[in-house]
């Protein structure tokens, strides 16, 4: 059976997220409870979480979470890391043995900072240098896979139901101002851990429910800019597109949303001249980054969360608000389980980005 990267695997999913505007800590167990209520939307072949603000003590270092198939892979990878980074801490990620989660790879965590010499000779900024290193490991070192590489954030994922994955990674021991979660329903996969979601690059993480039709158009375009879509998953390409537009092209999240879930021409044509110009420009210049087909995504980044549906809203997504907290999920039940009494419950329109920022991101 071919794994992610060797073949493209359609999947249905559940997603959930919670964020504190003021940056108060939220215990990992909460997001686990939320995603667990949507058990039926997964099939035990993948679950995962992204937590923001979970490594305050190392917030200036890139936290690499890496799967190794074997020690040889680990050796090769650590050599590479030694060569390019100053590693201030490395350890196994603490896990809990449970029957539901088996055949786990070696799961290591490194807090690193690019070596000055390397950084300068590369003539790249720190983030670009780091992301290129991650891509080189993932595409170059057999058996090693960096699945989390951001600062003061971390991705935890595995093959299994999300609630089991949460228990496995002992998420109740983490606290963050923002969490996203993913339960996966792939149609066929041997169950490779790297294939689970969230997918992350640097501090950008994406959980996604859907199956996009524009995949290959998006992939072949984004690969012109140094990205390698090794997993052939929607989430991977969506992450790269957002990274490209936000980090490299410096577009705002709203502008980014108007590229990947662009308004229809019929809508744009009715807009005021200035707005019309801008949106026409963005659609025209980044035409191949328009994402069509169903998707609902939660984009985690330092200091916030963006929720976005495809422009026809072919996937469900609801938002609940209660005081300081905002909950976003595929289903209302996953919100009610955490907060039965909501101030506000609503569904964003297709293509309408919902961006919540948190003081938790401030240094």
């Amino acid at each position: 059976m071919q794994r992610e990267g060797q073949i493209r695997i359609p999947a249905g999913c559940s997603i959930s997220g919670v964020i504190s505007r003021s940056g108060q800590g939220i215990c990992g167990s909460e997001i686990v409870r939320s995603i667990a209520t949507m058990h039926d939307r997964s099939n035990g072949l993948g679950g995962g979480f992204a937590g923001y603000g979970i490594y305050p003590q190392y917030k200036d270092y890139y936290a690499f979470h890496i799967f190794y198939d074997d020690t040889a892979a680990r050796k090769a990878c650590e050599d590479f890391l030694e060569e390019h980074f100053d590693i201030v801490n490395l350890s196994k990620i603490p896990t809990r043995k449970i029957p539901a989660i088996t055949s786990e790879p070696m799961i290591w965590r490194y807090f690193v900072r690019p070596l000055h010499t390397k950084l300068e000779s590369s003539q790249l900024d720190e983030q670009e240098f780091t992301s290129q290193c991650v891509i080189r490991i993932n595409s170059g070192i057999e058996g090693a896979f960096v699945f989390s590489s951001g600062k003061n954030m971390g991705v935890f994922k595995a093959v299994g139901y999300p609630e089991d994955v949460g228990e496995f990674y002992r998420l109740e021991e983490y606290e963050g101002y923002c969490w996203t979660a993913h339960g996966r329903y792939p149609t066929n996969t041997p169950g490779w851990w790297g294939g689970a979601h969230p997918f992350a690059l640097l501090d950008l993480s994406v959980v996604h429910n859907g199956e996009i039709s524009s995949y290959d158009a998006n992939r072949r375009w984004i690969e012109m800019y140094g990205y390698k879509c090794t997993l052939l998953t929607d989430t991977e390409v969506i992450t790269y597109i957002i990274d490209f537009l936000v980090r490299k092209k410096k577009l705002t999240l709203e502008e980014t949303a108007s590229v990947i879930a662009a308004p229809f021409w019929s809508t744009i044509d009715r807009m005021p001249e200035e707005q019309k110009k801008q949106l026409t420009y963005l659609r025209g210049m980044f035409a191949s980054l328009l994402i069509t087909g169903p998707f609902s995504i939660l984009v985690g980044f330092t200091g916030g969360l963006m929720a976005l549906n495809d422009r026809l809203k072919l996937r469900s997504m609801v938002i609940g608000e209660k005081g300081d907290r905002v909950y976003i999920s595929s289903e209302e039940c996953a919100i009610r389980v955490l907060e039965p009494e909501l101030d506000k419950l609503w569904s964003p329109k297709g293509g309408q980005p919902v961006i919540i920022t948190s003081k938790g991101g401030e240094a």
Partner: protein
């Protein structure tokens, strides 16, 4: 009289029971196949003159006529077929180069027919174009992805010149002269009505058609016929014709018989003189020369108009395209070797060049590998026969397609392949006034609009099936294609998986 080596290719079958001797066939046949014999009091025909254009069949009010291929046969074998044999006879008689019209009739593989399109099932929904918006608007031209902002942080939205089209289909170059005034008017009006463009070809632009400028591509070919400043400024875009799929490596040849009146004035050459455009542009012997011509044309038009460079699909087309993409051109048009022509040497038409599908796949992939795919838009032509061909071309990576033969068919062309004779019974490839008037642009333009509108509906249906509701999400989306009966090599070049994978 001399020995006749050329038995009639067709037979005119007239149903005596239905023929009312109205003589419409006689009046409508410029080849003088039919005539009424007063003594016999019936219509008779000289089938040696018949080119099977069906004008008579189409206009016969009692459906009394049909044209059939003569079953008169040579002693053929697999190696020496009738066509081959008669060509030898013809050259033995004439001592000349064989001329032909329209696209090659040879049985080369048509890759469009070996590609299958995907549709959504279960895991994501197909989209119903009757109920949901389905977008086919495209922009052709260089895309600058350098985001710039003004002091207030707003995006600076000035872009290199773009062509906005409502449909991914353009009418490709057919010169006034090779086709008639009325054919040109039909194309121009159709382009305007459809929100797309037509192309003057190398014959210049008749003054009556300047008013369609916003929907016109003005071509600059090696002969420079009809090229002047106003001409360059009249169009929405300028196309430098380096080559043509049907006759790569040689220039055009319009017989003097067609250079009459307005045609000669529009081309700016004397009446009756053959219009022979040289094989190369004599100011372009290398890629850097092209770069210079591109920029002189841009200078002449104040950088307001995109420049298209049209090349024939030849063996190293990918490398050539890459060079063009770096030459400042905004759009590359690639013409496959099954493309049509008003007249080409038969051997060249039938043996030179490569299929557009492979050329397109190679070029698109190459430009992406070099990271310069968004320097240019790609228009492909050379036998796009249906909306399915359009969809497949776009999935392979084209931005839009050029159609010409299909457009001519819409105007009534029956592919009789005798354009070079100038006696087109349908008023298309002729300059004889009594024949030209047979094409009423009022009818012609409507039929073109119908054709493209129908294709666009079908394109939207297929897009919807794939779960795509905007055409840019289909461009280069090769996962939406699967090959059938193709070798691994062909699949690799096309960049698609085989059906079942």
């Amino acid at each position: 009289m001399a020995i006749n080596f050329f038995p009639a290719e067709y037979e005119v079958i007239r149903n005596a029971d239905r023929c009312i001797a109205c003589r419409v066939c006689e009046r409508q046949c410029a080849n003088e196949v039919h005539h009424y014999d007063a003594d016999l009091q019936k219509m008779i025909s000289d089938e040696t003159k018949c080119v099977c254009c069906h004008r008579c069949v189409s206009l016969c009010p009692t459906r009394a006529l049909k044209i059939v291929k003569s079953d008169n046969t040579f002693k053929e074998n697999a190696n020496w077929q009738a066509q081959t044999i008669t060509e030898v006879y013809r050259q033995a008689g004439s001592g000349g180069v064989l001329l032909s019209s329209m696209g090659t009739p040879k049985g080369y593989p048509v890759y469009w027919d070996k590609l299958l399109i995907n549709a959504s099932q279960v895991t994501n929904p197909s989209i119903d174009p009757l109920r949901e918006p389905m977008e086919t608007r495209i922009f052709l031209g260089r895309k600058n992805d350098q985001i710039r902002r003004d002091s207030r942080g707003n995006l600076i939205t000035d872009v290199p010149p773009q062509l906005q089209l409502n449909v991914p289909i353009l009418f490709s170059a057919m010169s006034y002269g090779s086709i008639s005034y009325n054919a040109h008017e039909s194309l121009a009006r159709a382009a305007q009505a459809l929100g797309t463009l037509y192309n003057t070809g190398e014959g210049g632009l008749h003054e009556d058609f300047y008013k369609y400028g916003a929907n016109t591509i003005v071509q600059v070919a090696s002969g420079r016929f009809g090229v002047h400043k106003d001409y360059l400024q009249a169009g929405a875009a300028i196309e430098i014709k380096m080559g043509q799929g049907a006759k790569p490596g040689i220039g055009g040849h319009l017989p003097g018989a067609k250079i009459v009146g307005d045609v000669s004035r529009t081309r700016m050459i004397p009446e009756g003189s053959d219009a022979i455009s040289p094989a190369p542009h004599h100011d372009i012997y290398s890629i850097e020369d092209l770069h210079q011509l591109v920029h002189s044309l841009k200078e002449a038009t104040h950088y307001q108009k995109p420049v298209i460079v049209k090349i024939a699909a030849v063996h190293n087309v990918a490398a050539i395209a890459s060079g063009i993409a770096r030459s400042g051109a905004d759009i590359i048009a690639i013409d496959g070797f099954r493309g049509g022509t008003g007249a080409a040497p038969t051997r060249i038409r039938d043996n030179v060049g490569i299929p557009i599908e492979l050329a397109l796949a190679a070029v698109d992939q190459r430009l992406r590998e070099e990271g310069i795919r968004n320097n240019v838009s790609l228009i492909v032509g050379g036998s796009i026969r249906s909306s399915a061909d359009v969809v497949k071309a776009i999935c392979l990576g084209a931005d839009a397609v050029y159609i010409a033969t299909a457009a001519l068919l819409a105007l009534g062309c029956h592919l009789c392949r005798t354009c070079q004779a100038g006696k087109c019974n349908w008023g298309i490839a002729t300059q004889r006034p009594e024949l030209v008037k047979r094409l009423n642009p009022e009818i012609g333009y409507q039929r073109l609009v119908n054709l493209v509108t129908a294709w666009n509906h079908e394109i939207m249906e297929m897009m919807g099936g794939m779960g795509i509701n905007s055409i840019e999400s289909m461009r280069g989306n090769r996962l939406m294609l699967r090959g059938i009966g193709l070798t691994d090599r062909e699949l690799a070049i096309l960049g698609v998986k085989h059906a079942g994978e």
